[in-house]
Amino acid sequence: MAVRHYTNLTIDRSEDLIFGRAPHPVTCGHDLTIGAGTVYPEINFTLPPMEVTESTMPAVLDQYQKIIDGVCQRAVDLQVPGLVVEFELLPPMTIEPAWGESIVALLRRALDGYHDKHGLKIALRATPTDVRDGERPVRRRSGRYWEAMRDSFRRCVSAGADMLSIESTGGKEASDDALLQCDLQTMLVALGVLGARDMAFLWDEIGEACKGTQCLSAGDTACGFANTAMVLADRKMIPKVFAAVVRTLSTVRTLVAHEHGAVGPTKDCAYEGPYIKAITGVPISLEGKSAACAHLSSIGNIAAATADLWSNESVQNVRLLGGDAPVVSLEQLAYDCRLMNIAAADGADAARMLRDWLVRSDAALDPQAYVLTPDNVIRVARAIVEADGAFARSRETIAVTLDILREGATDGPLHLNDREKHWLDMLQMQLEMIPTDEEAAIKAACLGTKPDLVPGAYEIDDDKL
């Protein structure tokens, strides 16, 4: 597959980085064009506590049928301008690809019905699980889990998915410990070397699965890395400045999907999406305050500032006072989108005013929000495209992010307490010790001590460890 190298920004002015508009919109599903001026809700849901086995599959299908009928009917009632439904397969539904396929088919039929009956513009995103770490050490490019994933990609496409995504986890064998130890060097290698190499392999496969079909090769997310960091920081286990650096660093990894053909929209939990949008121009999905049903965050408003789809991440199908949780969640998203779309309808100045309120309400309070201001997004994205190769880009991303945070805390509005400032200095020292040569950095990361890591899965010879 031809690889596209981004050496310039597609959006190079922060004023042009705004919700609802992407330079390269995509059209999919039933008449849904994403990134052409309207922000649409993207609803996601999961099962209540129940097993997923062959014998429970009828009950599982029944759950999904009720959920999809509920959310689509509410979407019609609220007259949403369009809707994306995301189905994130649970691990057993990927390991047994036929189970995932049957749910995609069920959702497809439901979406077709609501389109035919009500004219609802609607599209379906399917997201198989990266189950490759079901066996340890993790082979990544072979074995029954990988074969199940490949099969799942194809079955989701043939069953009617309009977009294919994944939350891939290449590099996690090294990143989990690095996150807990705030080990910047290993984190860089995990994301900028291992993750990037795995993404190239994986997104060529996803591209093949989508080739010649109705299904878009959409986008990935560094959820298993940067969102893990975000949650750990929220629970005060690791510094927020480290989580902010991991976020920007994860962009380099996620970008590889687009170098290998992904056209967007990016996955909702990819908070690195704004950098991807600036670099590639593809539409992005994001989540924030209305995803608190799935996880807490300190970027609830600012995440909406550049979103083209607005998601709830996931919600269990449980009963709330207002109705079933997915229906309640859809309603919250619908109203969030209405506000953004009415601002956009009042013209570019009004849209930017709302965007800036979304940005300013979060930016000074948390470094993870601060790195997402449009100005800082452009600055980080520019550093990425000006460097050559994933490793060099990763190193540059860390450097510019630390500069942004230091400047923000020193002369700007960013509030950092003493503990966070101390860690900013620690991270700077760590950066200065990271070799500038990729092979030396791989050696320094001591990957040989990671019991689950198979070097060959990342094109690394054993003697290079």
């Binding site: 097993e51 649970l90 807990l180 503990r419 860690w423």
Partner: protein, 231 residues
């Protein structure tokens, strides 16, 4: 650092202090500028040379230092990496003490068998619990992710005095957690089994017959202290 005398109490205080700052040995430059100054390993050598009993070095030097850092973590005064650095420094001292203890006498808070339940591949919550409990003096048997009940029962048979921890991160694997607890209870009705993970609640823990619920990794330490007090 405590005013340096060669009095055993000062040496023990220095061990505790070095554990807190994570200075494992003289070669480490943590805290910055301390390279060449003695760390845990060197202070433990001095304590041994002064005939301080190894149990005292462990309790009043190494564990005392780690307990301080554990309390700071619980009070949100330090982050996990600082706890891990302290635990690593403590291990530098433990390595010096090991030869002085007969294998069976090596003091330990107890054995803790920890796993993520069947069908669930999440590592990091399990790893955090393991790290913090190890720092609190527990011997950890990490049985990994996607653990079938039989695997857990086999691990308990191998370590009959252990306490057990189970983690689940998905609503659809909470059911597997219930099955794991049932399987454990069948063979070991009185076994201490604690549970945790994003979708797990106190009520759910009671419902499946677990001994207790820890909402976060550091809560697991206190919970085990209550359920299975140190001898």
């Amino acid at each position: 650092m405590t005013e340096t005398t060669d009095a055993p109490k000062d040496i023990l205080a220095n061990i505790a202090q070095c554990v807190q700052t994570g200075k494992a040995d003289a070669n480490m430059n943590i805290p910055m500028g301390s390279k060449g100054q003695p760390g845990v390993a060197e202070w433990v050598d001095q304590a041994i040379a002064k005939d301080v009993p190894p149990q005292t070095i462990l309790a009043e030097g190494l564990m005392a230092g780690l307990q301080v850092i554990g309390k700071k973590f619980a009070a949100n005064e330090v982050f996990i990496p600082e706890v891990l650095i302290a635990a690593r420094a403590m291990h530098a001292g433990m390595n010096k003490l090991k030869p002085l203890f007969a294998e069976q006498d090596m003091p330990s808070r107890g054995t803790f068998v920890m796993g993520t339940v069947q069908g669930d591949l999440h590592d990091i919550g399990k790893n955090l619990v393991c790290m913090l409990l190890e720092g609190a003096g527990w011997r950890i048997i990490d049985v990994g992710v996607d653990c079938a009940p039989e695997k857990l029962v086999a691990a308990i048979k191998e370590h009959p005095d252990c306490a057990v921890g189970l983690s689940a991160l998905l609503t659809t694997t909470m059911v597997a957690m219930g099955k794991a607890v049932s399987a454990i209870r069948e063979s070991f009705p009185d076994k201490t089994v604690i549970v945790g993970g994003a979708p797990v609640t106190e009520e759910f823990a009671k419902e499946i017959g677990a001994s207790g619920y820890a909402p976060d990794p550091s809560a697991a330490i206190d919970l085990l202290d209550r359920l299975q007090p140190a001898a």
